[in-house]
């Protein structure tokens, strides 16, 4: 110890101590703050699956069949994966409100645990796309807004409109607005292709590119109304409507006023 203490005023001691302290703090934080990657036990999984099956039998089986095999009015759910269930149920699309053209986004019927249980049950039937983890969809870190815009215009705008406001498809179907959708649900939509939407596999659009698209959508959501009232961001139709109502209405009203004789 004495040997050691004679070096205590050595010039490398302070930097060394600093590095040691930083390492210590960093390691502590890393260990303490690490999210336990959902290592769930076999019992927990079995429990979730059986719970999911219960919910499925009560809420879904009348259309999708007792074993999720599908029917004449609904598709089979075997092999659609947990991602598909999470997207459809957590955005309120399933269960459907009515048998109209397509399932619409609405307030979800099931809470997060129930959705997870349902997803576990469907995933247990056959392998399919998994729900992406938070780490996988860190779009703020891994996505580029400008690249996302290019990708969005190339792959998404033809149905969802240039600003993600949605658009019409044939026979009453539509591409919904992508504003205000959770990043995880946007990601799931791309990998599962719900309803009329195609599947964008990781070969077509890589996971990083998917995150760029999400980053652009989130930037579009937050974009201020740069030129004034945005008029719905649907192009010239609303502009024409405004000109014929407010614009010309005001001008003709003033023309009438200017030519009114004094009484």
């Amino acid at each position: 110890m004495k040997k050691l203490s004679k070096y205590r005023r050595h010039r490398v001691v302070a930097p060394l101590l600093l590095i040691a302290a930083l390492l210590g703090i960093g390691t502590t934080f890393q260990v303490a703050g690490a999210t336990t990657t959902s290592v769930i036990t076999a019992e927990e999984r079995t429990k979730a699956i059986s719970e999911g099956r219960e919910i499925f039998l009560k809420g879904c089986s009348s259309c999708h069949g007792l074993n999720a095999e599908g029917s004449s009015i609904s598709p089979s759910l075997i092999g659609v994966g947990a991602a598909s269930v999470d997207f459809q149920v957590a955005t309120g699309r399933m269960p459907m409100a009515d048998m109209s053209q397509q399932a619409m986004r609405k307030a979800p019927v099931y809470n997060d645990e129930e959705v997870a249980a349902l997803a576990a049950y469907i995933a247990s039937l056959a392998p399919g796309p998994e729900i992406p983890t938070d780490e996988m969809i860190n779009y703020e870190r891994d996505g580029s807004i400008a690249e996302g815009g290019e990708l969005f215009r190339t792959n998404c705008a033809m149905c969802h409109n240039f600003a993600g406001q949605g658009g019409a498809l044939t026979k009453g179907k539509y591409a919904p607005s992508v504003m205000g959708v959770k990043p995880v649900h946007i990601y799931e939509a791309m990998i599962t292709g719900p309803q009329a939407m195609p599947v964008f596999s990781d070969k077509t659009i890589t996971p990083e590119e998917k995150l760029s698209i999400i980053a652009w959508i989130k930037a579009a959501e937050k974009e201020p109304q740069l030129g004034g009232v945005a008029l719905g961001r649907v192009g010239p139709v609303t502009e024409g409507l405004l000109v014929w109502t407010l614009g010309l209405g005001l001008l003709i009203g003033i023309a009438v006023w200017l030519t009114t004789k004094a009484k």
């Binding site: 053209q101 807004i145 400008a146 690249e147 815009g149 290019e150 215009r153 190339t154 705008a157 033809m158 149905c159 969802h160 409109n161 240039f162 600003a163 406001q165 949605g166 658009g167 019409a168 498809l169 044939t170 026979k171 009453g172 539509y174 591409a175 652009w216 930037a219 579009a220 974009e223 109304q225 740069l226 030129g227 004034g228 009232v229 945005a230 008029l231 961001r233 649907v234 192009g235 010239p236 139709v237 609303t238 502009e239 024409g240 405004l242 000109v243 014929w244 407010l246 614009g247 010309l248 005001l250 001008l251 003709i252 003033i254 023309a255 009438v256 200017l258 030519t259 004789k261």
Partner: protein, 528 residues
């Protein structure tokens, strides 16, 4: 004489000695214009045109009409590092980096939409009041020419920024050019200087948009106004107004003040729209590349009817001698607009042929007193409106939860069924209004006062209308239809009988009227 008066007098005589303007001014500053709000619709168009010239000049200071590829390094982050044309990059620069640039861009675009709308309502006023009749046929044709050129000018204008929406519009224009039989492909190559989109088109339409068409506009608008000046303005019927006079206010000072003030009001409202409402947000559309398209790509409203016609067109593409004939584009894109605009330009002559009326007309018709013309106008507007609605079918579908296919079928059937229906309904309405006018003259105004007679009977008191009002309701001429004999004096069938029969048929339809009350009718009523 005060010093001020002396100086003003000196300046005036200095100018007059050199220009001789005083005599001309003395005469013309007293020129009388009739006063009516509907006479100011054309003024809105004129003032919008001036606003377009001023704001457009501002935009040319920064706009770079070049298809040179650049990498965007400007202020708008979501496009940073994206490859685009210099034209689009400079339009972004105007929007985000030039002081007042976005406001000017929006004023320019709103002014264009107001310009078009004002032209259309002005045209409607002229049509429905019969102001196009002799001697104003030429001015009508100039007006139709201005409308046509304005549509082209507007289209070229919103095509210039080379954003995704404008590129889509140019692509459709190219498709319409290509649909012309035989020469279509050659014309398209000629216009674009090669394959679509190429690098020639944007610089070319820039020259046309800022030089050629504005020049033609200036010339035509000048002639349009000089003819109004020379032929004098039409006026609505009223006591003291004849075919030989004009009743109204003098140019100086009343009209100078009214028109000058109205210019600033039009400018103010355009600037207000430019300041508070976004128009053509090109930064959201992104740069044009032929591989991209947005849902709900629409033209501006004045092209919307054309887009609507193309959207409802059935897929007719016969192959003739190995060549595809794109009737699905040719009919809605060129043939129908051609018929509509030619018919519109020739209408004054068609009506003259039907009525055989070669006299000058300076007193306007009340639309109800020309039921056939009014019905024809409403019929044409109905046609245009159905086409316009179908032009926005995707936006209507998403916003009203409708099926785009159903809207298309509604438009396909409606564009054939609704215009004739509108014709019949309008004609009936006009005749009913004539009948109401007749009743008003003969029986007076219903006062709503009920009087109980000694016998217990209730009657409503009618009040006679003022002589001015009675004159207004009875001043119009009711001409019998043109007499066209099938046989000449010697009993021989005239040549061109079918033409004459058609003309007779039209003449009878055109002259359909509820006969206005005569003096005898009135006397008979007074007798009771």
């Amino acid at each position: 004489m005060s010093a001020r008066e002396r100086i003003a007098g000196n300046v005036a005589s200095y100018v007059d000695d050199r220009t001789g303007a005083a005599a001309w001014m003395k005469k013309n500053l007293k020129k009388v214009f009739p006063d009516h709000w509907s006479f100011m619709l054309g003024e809105i168009a004129l003032y919008s045109f001036i606003i377009l010239l001023l704001s457009g000049t501002f935009l040319t200071f920064w706009f770079d009409p070049s298809m040179r590829e650049v990498v965007y390094e400007g202020e708008y982050l979501p496009l940073k590092g994206v490859e685009m044309s210099a034209a689009y990059a400079s339009a972004l620069e105007i929007s985000f980096e030039v002081r007042g640039g976005l406001l000017m861009r929006q004023i320019h675009h709103w002014a264009a939409l107001i310009f078009m709308a004002a032209i259309v309502v002005h045209l409607m006023r002229v049509f429905f009041t019969g102001a196009f009749r002799k001697p104003r046929e030429f001015n009508w044709i100039i007006g139709v020419g201005l409308l046509t050129l304005a549509i082209v000018e507007g289209f070229l204008g919103y095509s210039l920024p080379d954003d995704l929406l404008s590129g889509t519009g140019i692509r459709i224009a190219q498709a319409i050019i290509q649909a012309i039989p035989v020469v279509g492909s050659f014309l398209a190559f000629f216009a674009f200087g090669g394959e679509f989109p190429g690098i020639a088109f944007i610089p070319r339409i820039y020259t046309v948009h800022i030089l050629l068409l504005p020049g033609i506009f200036l010339a035509l608008i000048t002639v349009h106004l000089m003819l109004v000046w020379y032929q004098k303005h039409t006026q609505y019927p009223g006591p003291g107004r004849t075919e030989k006079n004009v009743v109204g206010y003098s140019l100086m000072p009343i009209y100078m003040a009214k028109a000058g003030g109205f210019f600033f009001i039009v400018f103010g409202i355009t600037a207000l729209l430019g300041a508070v409402a976004s128009i053509n947000p090109i930064w959201l559309y992104g740069p044009y590349t032929p591989g991209q398209i947005s849902a709900g790509s629409q033209p501006d409203w004045y092209m919307g009817w054309l887009d609507g016609l193309v959207r409802m067109s059935p897929p007719l593409e016969p192959v003739i001698f190995g060549y595809t004939l794109s009737l699905n584009i040719l009919i809605p894109g060129l043939i129908i607009p051609g018929i509509i605009f030619t018919g519109m330009a020739l209408y004054p002559f068609i009506e003259q042929w039907i009525t055989g009326d070669k006299r000058e007309h300076h007193i306007l018709d009340r639309p109800r007193n020309a039921p056939n013309r009014t019905a024809l106008g409403v019929m044409s507007l109905t046609f245009m409106l159905v086409a316009l609605i179908n032009g926005g079918n995707d936006i209507i579908a998403t916003h009203f939860d409708l099926s785009i296919n159903q809207i298309m079928w509604f438009s396909r059937i409606g564009i054939i069924v609704l215009p004739p229906l509108a014709f019949v309904i309008t004609k009936r309405l006009c005749l009913s209004l004539q009948r109401a006018d007749r009743d008003l003259v003969l029986h007076g105004r219903e006062t709503g006062r009920l009087v109980m007679m000694p016998s217990g009977e209730f009657v409503e008191v009618h009040e006679p209308i003022s002589p001015e009002k009675a004159w207004l309701l009875t001043q119009h001429e009711q001409k019998a239809p043109l007499e066209l004999a099938d046989l000449d004096q010697r009993g021989v069938r005239r040549p061109g009988l079918i033409k004459s029969k058609v003309r007779k048929r039209f003449a009878v339809a055109h002259a359909e009227q509820v006969s206005k009350p005569t003096v005898e009718d009135l006397k008979e009523i007074e007798h009771h």
